[in-house]
Amino acid sequence: MAFINAHFPPFWRNLPRDLNHCVNYSFELIDIPMNLNLFYSKERNQYHSTLIMAQLIKHLPADGDKIIGITDADIYIPILTFLFGEAQLGGRVALVSTYRLKNQFYGLPADSNLLYERVLKEILHELGHTMGLIHCSDFECVMNSSTYVENIDLKFSRFCKSCQGILGIECEE
């Protein structure tokens, strides 16, 4: 798990711990500096997600299986106005942006616990994609597609029984 450039709150170091009820990877937390300007679009005032991911995978340690980056930059792909995150379906790399997960972006008071919950869910969601999961119609499943931040709040930070079945895992209570 890679923190890109940003100085996230210290308690975010708990993210791996809070994921292990559903994911049995052992996480290594790394901080990576990245010159995001290379992926900046002046026209859109956003950063190209796919290009960041291409850079990110170069940081995957030799003994690592997958890498998921966390950035506070506003990310996009050319065809969409924004993304909460992107992943290689069944692949090794994923990216989550906190930019539009923050309450302040919607003109609401900051809520650090809510932000943490959202980040946690989006990480699990993108990791789910790297494990080959597609979107799930169960609105409480973390693999439910979220195109609105409020959708994320309706989900639980866990896979539903059917997604667990596809992965062949059982999330702990």
Binding site: T50, I77, I79, E86, F105, Y106, G107, D138, E140, T147
Partner: protein
Amino acid sequence: MKTSKILIVDDELSVRTSLSEWFLEDGFRVETAESGEDALQKMHGGPYDLILLDIKMPGMDGITLQKRIKEIDSDVVIIIMTAYASVETAVEALKLGAFDYVTKPFDPDDLTRLVRNALKQKDLADENIQLKEKISELSGADEIIGESDGMKRVFELVDTVAETDSTVLIRGESGTGKELVARAIHSRSKRRYFPIVAVNCGAITETLLESELFGHEKGAFTGAQYRRKGKIELANGGTLFLDEVGDITAKMQVDLLRVIENKRFTRVGGNEEIQVDFRLICATNKNLEKLVEEEKFREDLYYRINVFSIFIPPLRERKSDIMPLTNYFVKKYARSMGKPEKKISPTAQEMLLGYSWPGNVRELENAVERAMVVGKKSEITEADLPLHLNGDGHASENLIKLDDLEKEHIKKILEEAGGNVTRAAALLGIDRVTLYNKIKKYGLKR
């Protein structure tokens, strides 16, 4: 279930790959074509349920391509992709039978909705996907525990009302589990495949509650850089649960009444009317009738929400639920803390049963959780319970308040009786000796 098949036609590679990725993650089968000719070739490998078509491509243009595609398969749904500059052409495409158009770059939510609506037209709506049995464990919802007659009555009412689509008002002191009852109704109703969305109306300011319920458009107020979906919109198809409904302001009462009556609303700062379909469940610990009388709660709203009401008795009035609840919470926290389950010592049990539980089930749960954390032994003893009880089984804090009350009351009656102890005792319904003792205890003057 049949997987829908999509063809993406665009000359730009990045558009083809990113849209493929997007639709693959959504569970579609996706194919791409880089030109009109390529697309027509691919049509033989169809049929496709949906074709996303770039209107401006070198070679065969989108309009011509659309006509040719319709000749091959008149049923296929076509969505036109366009840049701002070519909106006029897109409108022309609509006249020629395209389902709709989107302007690049797309808002992810608009795209999702558009595709869903397009497929709905083809009767391939994912509605039936949503209807797949949802496994109740997922919701992680706590069971409602109760063996008392009071709770049995609640369960009966839940079952009765769940089948209907009626508005429900749940009443009871705080901590009695009103939200659990709301969730139980929802999960037994035909709306269970859609969300139940809870809003606590008591905890936030009017402006925030307004945005929370109705959502807002970008720029509706300072700092709002993007529109926000309100809870009402999120509850579409499902249940909207408004907790502490007795606490909302006069303005919100009007707004709420309107949306209940019309099932339509607009986001804050917007003018698009959005239609919604939800079941309403409200809860309150307030005396709504009194609030209506005092004109603090609109009478018309009161009648709208109080169609079917369920009262959850306080824990102190259903002592037989205390031990089953305690055991349930012990199990729950043992599991989540990875500890063995604990027994309850007889004295601790007595203490639990004797306490008045002003914070109801929530207070009991907190007490058990704490005992599971601090307790060192294999059983929960009275020392692990954070309750300050005295021999009467009353919380000492409460006793002080009760004593104060008694003192005030006796003082008042004595005054009324002009200091005549016999008369005061008669008024109070106690004997003279008891009254003398109390006068002494409280240091009252006759």
